[in-house]
Amino acid sequence: MHVPDGFLDAPTSVATGVVAAAGVAVALRGAHRELDDKTAPMAGLVATFVFAGQMMNFPVGAGTSGHLLGGALAAVLVGPFTAVLCISVVLLVQALLMADGGITALGTNITLMALVGVVVGWGVFALLRAVLPKRAALVAPAAAVAALLSVPAAAAVFTALFAIGGTVPVDTGAVLAAMVGWHVVIGTGEAVITCLVVGSVVAVRPDLVYGARPVLAARRLEIRRPGVTA
């Protein structure tokens, strides 16, 4: 979903640049609390993994492909603030080194994939975690649902930006329908990858999964209960 230079006019690009800068500033403050000696290298790994994952375009039919955005994945693994920074670093390297995603569109891409992707992904995950039973086996499926919804959400926000600042007059309804339609399919791939990766980390090192911490805390209490009641 990397927006190239030219899709959006200058005022819209400047506006999304301001939003992106504010979001990254907030994330820098929040990430300080999420990161410690153990989770800082984990966050570096997550950013690297998202970069690699974004290279793996998978076919979604009709000569179209999609790839991981990684917002929900990163948020569940290392926390929402750190996740915004992970995706932003990926987008920065892609724009400057790989010529993927415009340089004047960097603010737009950070807004769509880092901010919308993480906020929707983490929001859905946190909501599901609150209503689901506290079981480690449910962390990965909840992350998958969050991932699925985060992709069409980012597509819808792109459409809104295009309606405001698109450089070509195109019917917004047609763009919205096509963007959301295709990105629900791409979101299914996002969900599968997110489920597999989060599930693998939960299986090997659940303590490294930020989103699993309350679940682990509940599990620890369960183990102690027989000793107390006996």
Partner: protein
């Protein structure tokens, strides 16, 4: 699994995906590109300002073999993300002595 072994395994997997797996990725236009073409605004895209860069479009300039060129670009890009991201996160992490609100369960003796 020890933290060091976990991180190393993860890094190797990421580099394999970027360096080897990416060759097999679909080269079809992605969702946004497809929609832009379909609804008629693809031509409004400008040429990328860094299109002449050494790793532009995930190809290494000067390396002719397509598999090697793409793989090398993927690995170099991934290492750039690891260096920038890892450095940033290490720099802004919470140090001992900061407000210690680390409620995470320490169930692994080897967690550091």
């Amino acid at each position: 699994m020890r933290l060091r072994a976990f991180l190393l395994t993860g890094l190797v997997v990421a580099l394999l995906v970027a360096g080897v797996g990416s060759y097999y990725a679909s080269s079809h236009p992605d969702g946004l590109e497809h929609v832009a073409e379909q609804t008629g605004f693809l031509d409004s895209a400008d040429e990328h300002a860094a299109a002449d860069g050494p790793l532009a479009d995930y190809q290494t300039r000067g390396v002719d073999d397509e598999r090697l060129s793409g793989g090398l670009a993927g690995v170099l890009g991934a290492l750039a993300v690891a260096a920038i991201g890892g450095g940033l996160f290490w720099l802004i992490r919470r140090r001992d002595g900061d407000e210690a609100d680390d409620a995470a369960p320490r169930q692994h003796a080897d967690s550091r």
